[in-house]
């Protein structure tokens, strides 16, 4: 009969002890790094600066010009070299 309250109190004390042990160690997590105020990006030699609060610009499909074969366009039609069949000689 008397064991249950004692077990409860001991469990509570154990939890308190672990909390006390972990409390100062968890203070390490209080130090965090923040994002920089501005973000510098360099695209094709051109440097641009934007505030970090704005999202990273995503290019629209119409803004992009990609040369073939990355632009999904059909291949340019080139004149195929004329092939003249070689005559088969039966001996």
């Amino acid at each position: 009969m008397n064991k249950l309250p004692r077990l409860f109190v001991d469990g509570l004390l154990t939890v308190m002890l672990f909390a006390l042990l972990i409390l100062p160690i968890s203070s390490i997590g209080l130090l965090s790094s923040k994002q920089p105020d501005v973000v510098k990006t360099e695209v094709l030699g051109q440097e641009s600066v934007r505030p970090a609060s704005t999202p990273t610009p995503t290019a629209q499909k119409s803004d992009l010009y990609l040369p073939y074969p990355f632009n999904n366009a059909s291949a340019p039609i080139e004149s195929s070299p004329s092939v003249t069949p070689t005559p088969v000689v039966n001996r």
Binding site: L13, L17, L21, I25, L30, S32, Q35, P36
Partner: protein
Amino acid sequence: MFSKILVKLIDQAIVPAILLLAVRFVSVILISRQFQINIDMTAAGFNLPAESYLLVNPYPLLFMVCTLTVGLLYILLKSFIFHESHITPALTARVFSLRLSTFIQDSFDLYSQGTIWLSYLYLLALVSGTMVVFNLVYLWVFIVAVVLSVIATVFFVLDIENELDLRQSDTTYSQEEVVLDFGGRNE
């Protein structure tokens, strides 16, 4: 009703917990000032620029480890020299004459203190090891924490062995005494 050991451990854990928190806060502020880094204090904690995180983070951790080591040295000094079980009579007289009798402590007090402070040191070594894996702390901080915790553990175990030897020798002496008494009655 309560477990005496658990209550004692909680009692002993309060002081180092507050001390470690204070060391952490003060050292973060001092080091950020030393490196002239702007640090923001928010409700969530300290915020500092991402590029200076690795510069600031290891040193408060090192200060915490050093604080724990100094505390453990004090406890080890008390357990090796001022331990109630094996303090010399001359030193006892001197300590009492200087009114420093609080230095003399029994095994229960000393070992509960030592257990708590060592646990903090182990936890710090574990956390610093985890942070090394994620490149948040220099490797040498982790090595210092591990080496200091190993040294403290070795000295602590040595003192416990001394204490056990003393108690064993006390027991054998009392057994001999009982045997002699028994022989005396027969005569």
